[in-house]
Amino acid sequence: MRHETFAIGCAAGFGGDRTDAAAPIVETLIARGGAGALIFEMLAERTLALAQLDRRKNSEGGYAPLLESMARPVLRRCLEHGIPIVSNFGAANPRAAARRIRQIAQEQGVSQARIAIVEGDDLSDARGRELLRRFLSPADLGCEMISANVYLGAAAIADALRAGAQVVVTGRVADPSLAVGPAMWRFGWGETDWDTLGRATMAGHLLECGAQVTGGYFADPGFKDVPDLHAVGFPIAEVAADGSFTITKADATGGVVNARTVKEQLLYELHDPAAYLTPDVVADISEAEVVEVEENRVAVKGVRGRPRPETLKATVCYAGGWLGEGEISYAGPNAEARARLAGEVISRRVGDALKLRFDLIGALSVFGDDRGAALSALPVNDMRDVRLRVAGVHSDRAQVEKLLGEVTALYTCGPAGGGGIRTTITPRLNSVSCFVPRELVPATFTILE
């Protein structure tokens, strides 16, 4: 049966993922024969806003910073073996990304690469902003917009492949659609084959975070062990004509694909299991089962699909002021009390000039809340190696610099024995979402001339 399936490998699960994951996938696809595709998922919510800022500085910038490192090692092999590459690494500038890929292909001796660009997601131009006016609240409209993108679906990707594209470069598309598109093309699915699209969407969902389904983000020593985590292999979904699929991984790699890894990723970032909303379909995994077919091969059964939503989600990012973070360590006898006193000093120096948060790394940090309720309720425990962290945000950079100056001054003016101060300032982005009727934001593709 395997020869009738379409193998989709995913070599990146976010914009900063490993750049050596693709080669083992591509070699596996080639060795197994049959049809296949390679996807890279590289856009988180805020990544696109950062890319849009890049593009403002440089008209040929604004695509994923790691595009070249990801594509270069496998581009020629994929082009030669008929393995299409589909990725959202176009970010805020898919056209420039496509030009860059063509350049790389030419450097590698392939002069005729057919590269498609999927567009329609970017609503940050004047026309897009005008459109969004109807769907955003007045308060949001008053802010300084950096990027605005609608999540496109799989259809334009499938259309581009049908037109002979060997590489499809997109901006914002729903992550699972990166996998649904190639399968749609391969099997000729219609846009209303709901159960089929529902299954393929869950294949895409399992692929979209890369190693998170093959043993990455999973190991818990003694409880859930993962062989050769340092060399974790990235996933491959073998999709059948009805959308049903098995998950496996690249040959000769570490990691593991078993019922547990698949279940964890199946539920990742999911709300109602009966209604996983994408631009392509509403997928339902409430009756889903996972079956370990053989070592490192898991089948997912029982996924269904219902008609897709009439609206598409749009995410708008705004400039969100400045985040300042400062840290200082205390260790040895009475360390925790000294760290807590340092926090009090900062608090009294800064007052309520800006919103502050304190953490005691080593005692309580990430589990706590911004208001500090959990930290105040925590009895002093005599922790002997703690790091005070102060975080504050303000629209005025000078206010944040002042806060960090107070952290630095702890060297001479704070409690005894503090050391290892580090401070950073980063620009913040805020985002809001709204829903736009899909007929107002059509997706299109063009082949790079």
């Binding site: 919510e45 805020r46 983000y217 999973f218 818990d220 020593p221 003694g222 409880f223 859930k224 547990r260 279940k263 964890e264 990723q265 199946l266 539920l267 990742y268 970032e269 999911l270 709300h271 109602d272 299991p273 009966a274 995994i285 409430s286 009756e287 889903a288 089962e289 996972v290 029982g302 990012c317 969100g320 985040l323 919103k355 502050l356 948060r357 953490d359 790394i361 940090s365 990430v366 589990f367 706590g368 809340d369 911004d370 309720a373 959990a374 309720a377 962290r389 975080a391 504050g392 945000v393 913040r428 982005l429 805020n430 985002s431 979402s433």
Partner: protein
């Protein structure tokens, strides 16, 4: 203390992963063995989870069941101090919170101890609690 009951962290019985969408977190709880699932249903309730996360002030806690996976999915709304773009938390995504949920204490019949996988570290501490 009922001698027929042992108190163990949920971490011995289940694994899970946290994800975020905006200001809403979801945390899966997946039984290590089918036999554990009924106990999880009985003990890992919306109420208990709400209590474990009360300092994070979720406005709603909802438990979805996936019996064929031996799993449940908790959705906690407005719990991430505004989410990845607004929170001052080091972990603005709330990714670490799966292990806060897995710290929940579960009261289990003592026969269950025989089904627990041996653990190289921390086991004695877990069973003593």
């Amino acid at each position: 203390m009922d001698p027929d009951i042992i108190h163990i962290p949920l971490h011995r019985l289940a694994h899970g992963r946290a994800g975020d969408k905006g200001d809403t977190a979801n945390i899966s709880v997946i039984a290590y063995r089918e036999e554990f699932f009924p106990l999880l249903l009985e003990q890992v309730t919306e109420e208990k989870v709400r209590k474990a996360f009360r300092h994070r002030n979720p406005t709603a806690v909802r438990r979805y069941l996936l019996p064929k996976l031996g799993a449940m999915n908790f959705v906690l709304e407005n719990m991430l101090d505004g989410g990845v773009n607004d929170s001052l938390n080091l972990d603005s995504h709330g990714k670490t919170l799966a292990f806060l949920l897995l710290s929940l204490e579960v009261a289990a019949p003592k026969e269950l101890a025989a089904l627990l996988d041996p653990v190289p570290t921390g086991e004695a501490e877990c069973l003593r609690r």
